[in-house]
Symmetry: C3
Subunit: 274 residues, 3 copies
């Protein structure tokens, strides 16, 4: 199955995605899920989440702007989603930046099965128990995946995947998407995407839709979502007019996902498998 087919499967099946996510980027998360062909629902009240997650196919747990109530909702929704065999994704926003965020991410990983864990390199290193140098919700430059440390980083994600049973996705200048055996090394995207809040959150939401629509191919579905996001970043930047900046760029990226089809994704995806 090609990566483009993964996208086409989203459009063909309109997967419902339950999101427990931060209030900073939630609107863009909803719009990018719609743009790729999915249907988003947001709910973070403990009394509401089990019903909501039950009618969906996937659950996207993002711990940015977590609070006592939403943490409780994450545990309840995750347990229910696991019970129903739904796809579940963890976006550990800010793991390493505060005790509560690190503990919540690790606690969730202990109590439930995740199909995918997606974060920046500092967040993923924190979860892997390796020394990370988090800078707030952004990855530290010291942690970046580079051609120099690529071998070591591929080993790290394969080991973390083997240990957790989840596909691991690290996104940054070079993206890694790995299960225990194979690692996609992806080189789509533009540095300017870092000047938009929430491209990572958006990717996690869209990725959950890809997982639901491609239930037997989690590695390919995850890689497809990463390539689609990076390619949209390239198309959106190309479309930027003089005087336009990060706010318009944000819209153009979502627009590019809306316009993208499987053929364009297959043609634009830049990756090697190791």
């Amino acid at each position: 199955m090609t990566l483009g087919t993964c996208l086409e499967n989203v459009r063909a099946t309109t997967p419902l995605v339950h999101n427990i996510t931060n209030y900073v980027t939630v609107n863009d998360v909803a719009n990018i899920i719609l743009a790729c062909g999915g249907s988003p629902i947001m709910s973070d009240e403990p009394r509401d989440v089990e019903d909501i997650t039950s009618i969906c196919g996937g659950l996207n747990i993002n711990i940015g702007t977590l609070n006592e109530r939403s943490i409780q909702a994450m545990y309840l929704a995750g347990a229910k989603a696991n019970e129903l065999g739904h796809k579940v994704l963890l976006d550990p926003v800010g793991a390493g930046a505060s005790r509560l965020r690190t503990e919540t991410a690790l606690g969730l990983m202990e109590k439930m099965h995740f199909d995918v864990i997606r974060g920046n390199v500092s967040e993923i290193k924190t979860l892997a128990g390796s020394a990370a140098a988090t800078r707030g919700v952004d990855a530290s430059a010291a942690d970046a995946v580079t051609d120099e440390n690529l071998d070591a980083m591929v080993r790290l994600v394969k080991e973390l995947s083997a240990r957790t049973g989840a596909v691991i996705a690290i996104t940054g200048a070079i993206d890694l998407v790995s299960d225990a055996q194979r690692c996609y090394v992806i080189r789509n995207g533009r540095a300017q995407m870092g000047a938009i809040t929430g491209t990572g959150c958006q990717l996690s939401g869209m990725m959950t839709a890809f997982l639901v629509a491609n239930p037997d191919r989690p590695l390919e579905a995850t890689a497809a979502a990463v390539c689609a996001m990076g390619l949209a970043g390239e198309i959106g930047l190309e479309a930027l007019q003089p005087g336009e900046g990060n706010a318009t760029y944000r819209n153009r990226i979502i627009d590019a996902i809306y316009r993208m089809d499987g053929v364009a994704l297959d043609r634009g995806a830049k990756y090697a498998v190791r």
Copy 2:
């Protein structure tokens, strides 16, 4: 009074609207209320809402991303708004999709008077006690208002209006806006609006401003807001450039409301009254 006059009355009076609404679409709700000439305030803390609603002319209650605290705030604010004779609107987002949402919508309807209840067809059928096939926060295709079931649906909204004392607005491909006697059947809008999160929420916010500015004409005010939103969807789609998608379309719809005047609304509104 024409529908265009209803819009002009909003611009002439700058009605203040208190919104207890979800955090997914709240920014767009605020911007569209400003676009049509109103002034939005958001507050969902029980200790804050009675003061805030007192200084406003209308209250927009939207149960998307409801939680224990905001539900309590809805009851307090609604009681105060009723006491003061303010306009109150209910947007039952996801009624039918979870027990908490259905119970909250019905509970609010029992405890307070709503001037308007606006939702998609599955949500409204849930409130009417008729069998609905909700698909998350979107209407089920099986429930859609069509030319084939139009007579039955007009009967349903008239009966629900008679029973609740509220103007009932169902929005979708065909929109119905009805009191117990008359029903506007509205055919503005574009199918692509469904690919934007929150066009319904935006409409409810804007509609509350229309109600406040046209206190004696709730049916016309509601119909005017529905036509304005649909017409903005038509204008916004027409303005879309190659490569643009749902994110930019969202902005163009709000922009179209900002630019719309009463003459344009009267010229563009497409409806019949039954």
Copy 3:
């Protein structure tokens, strides 16, 4: 040091800003902080905020959509930020519009030191104990700073600054930025900015980044942020195409900040010092 240098210092140092802010405008706040060269983090959970604020350089407290939990977080984060000598800004959204908002703003001012307090004229008059005529979250026209009452208003902000030890910023058609000795009277901006939700919130977030990057020059840093926002409003309006309205204008303002450099800011800033 010129105002343009204040902006360049933001870009050179990428200050981390912790925001406890409302969910209406939070996405725009994050994107404008990124646009000016800073890095935003949002957290409002009491168990999280001390860790988060500790890794940042500044704290932006905005009381729009405050609730019991976030109020507690404001007190905890403010105390920690003061202890660490971080910059702290207060945006008293809606002070004067409800008891809870007024009491929270005054309570915070009593318990912690603010480097800057930024609001509209009605909010600042409320904090100064002078009769204000708040109209929701917007300033009352009766309160507006004009050429006629300019002397009295400059006296008011200087006195409030002397009393609180904070730089006071009133924004509106004429902006005032003052410490106890000197007051910048700024005439950048466009009236149409009032049709966008959250330009004030955005300014407060960006201003906090300016404060962190210019630690010894709070007055100049604050004035620079105000001029930058107003200038961006001028550039963004100029760039508006036929048919575009407040939603696109919002993006164009953030875009203009993204594109602005120190030379452009110095050339475009319109102010006198009194």
